[in-house]
């Protein structure tokens, strides 16, 4: 059996039987329930068309799902360092790259759970429209691309942080900084705004979703917006492949 699979299994057990995974997914479902109920019932909220309601739920599901995944990833290395459990892991005959890969895969099971939990909500809002199948494909592909990239970033922050608090704070700040531009209306209308959207892996992913869901663009029309999340995945993977032995250490990694 691959050694990263052994690490991933152990980490998955810790995440799901240790209670963190179920609690985060429960909190995620409570938030989506409130959003879905308001979208479905509250006339005063706005005049959301069904496509818009599905798109809004999809975007919230991705943003909050990525947030939950990043929280777990931010704890993955710095947390073990603080709890003095990293030493035991480093003593095992598992290469550091396999440790990083195992931790990434186990963290992404939380994202997979968020995707599964989102399905009933998307179904409730979009079942009478043709948009449901599109929403499911988009969360599975675009959402996963964004989640893998940002989870890699959080894992990197965790390896480079002095303490778990720093790691969590920096990861949350990064997510907030990336999420804020998605709330500004008309960002891609000027070339500067468009550039800012394109270099931001979260905003560009969200832009792609909206273009398909609301503006009914074809899947190829805005494909270039997915370059930024794809590059984030590539960059974080490359960093871990090259520098994992220096990043995963008992003391904070130094450049």
């Amino acid at each position: 059996m691959n050694r990263w699979v052994v690490v991933a299994r152990q980490e998955i057990r810790d995440l799901w039987l240790g209670g963190r995974g179920p609690t985060l997914v429960f909190a995620f479902s409570v938030l989506l329930s409130a959003m879905t109920y308001l979208s479905a019932t509250n006339r005063g909220l706005n005049f959301l068309e069904q496509r818009e309601a599905v798109n809004l739920t999809l975007q919230v599901a991705i943003a909050v799902g990525v947030l939950a995944t990043m929280v777990v990833a931010a704890d993955a290395i710095s947390g073990e360092r603080e709890r003095h459990t990293l030493e035991a892991l480093l003593l095992t005959p598992v290469p550091r790259r396999d440790i990083a890969l195992g931790k990434l895969v186990s963290t992404l099971t939380l994202w997979a759970a968020c995707v599964v939990v989102s399905m009933p909500y998307l179904w409730v809002l979009g079942r009478s429209t043709a948009v449901l199948g599109q929403a499911v494909v988009l969360i599975a592909l675009v959402g996963t691309l964004v989640a893998v990239g940002l989870t890699g970033v959080a894992l990197l922050v965790s390896a480079l942080s002095d303490s778990n608090k720093t790691s969590l704070a920096v990861s949350l700040f990064v997510l907030l900084a990336l999420f804020a531009p998605t709330q500004l209306p008309g960002m891609p209308k000027s070339w500067v705004g468009d550039l800012l959207v394109r270099v931001n892996p979260l905003a560009s992913g969200m832009h792609y979703l909206s273009a398909l869901m609301l503006n009914r663009h074809t899947w190829r029309q805005d494909l270039s917006y997915l370059l930024s999340p794809a590059l984030t995945v590539l960059l974080t993977t490359t960093v871990f492949v090259i520098a994992a032995p220096r990043l995963i250490r008992l003391t904070r990694a130094t450049s």
Binding site: W16, L17, G18, G19, P22, T23, V25, F26, S29, V30, L32, S33, A34, T36, Y37, S39, A40, T41, F47, L48, E49, Q50, R51, E52, A53, V117, P120, Y121, W123, V124, L125, R127, S128, P185, G186, K189, L214, N215, R216
Partner: protein, 175 residues
């Protein structure tokens, strides 16, 4: 000598095409009728054609929405981008402008584009040119089924909450 220069000047002026006000320009839209539901984002393509022998001056294209049922239309709600500049079009050429707007009222509407002179030589001159109207029928919102949403919004967190309780109890037992 002066007469010669004046004649030359007149000849040069005649050979340089003078920018024209939008009177001779034609504007058309790619659709005639649109049926939409409230909140839907719609797209229209406008083609501005210059069939004349002189280039147009800079033009301003303006999107308008008129209600046929007397409903108050706040254009700003339909689109935040209703005024576009159309750069001078050479003789026989054309230019296209794409509009994106959201149907925010229910009822029957005509959406049309007006061309106004926008260059320094033609501003305030000539007749305006309007496109044929696109008839937009906006149906009321298809209500989401709140009755269907409630069981799901309750059942999913309850099931996951039970999962959390089960893992907590299991942890306590094994601790």
């Amino acid at each position: 000598m002066i007469r010669l220069l004046a004649t030359l000047g007149a000849l040069l002026a005649a050979s340089t095409p003078t920018p024209q006000p939008p009177g001779g320009v034609q504007v058309s839209l790619d659709q005639e009728r649109i049926s939409a539901s409230i909140g839907q984002v719609l797209t229209l393509d406008t083609t501005v054609t210059n069939p004349g022998s002189a280039p147009t001056d800079r033009l301003i294209a303006h999107l308008n929405v008129a209600s046929l049922d007397g409903v108050y239309v706040d254009l700003e709600d339909w689109s935040g981008d209703v005024t576009r500049v159309v750069e001078p079009i050479p003789a026989g050429g054309d230019a296209s402008v794409e509009w994106e707007f959201q149907a925010v009222n229910t009822g029957n509407f005509d959406v049309y584009v007006v061309l106004l002179p926008g260059g320094s030589a033609t501003a305030g001159r000539g007749p305006l040119v309007a496109s044929p109207p696109v008839h937009v029928t906006v149906a009321p919102r298809q209500e989401l089924n709140s009755g269907g949403a409630l069981p799901v919004t309750i059942a999913v967190p309850v099931l996951l909450g039970l999962g959390v309780l089960a893992t907590t109890r299991r942890r306590r037992r094994t601790a």
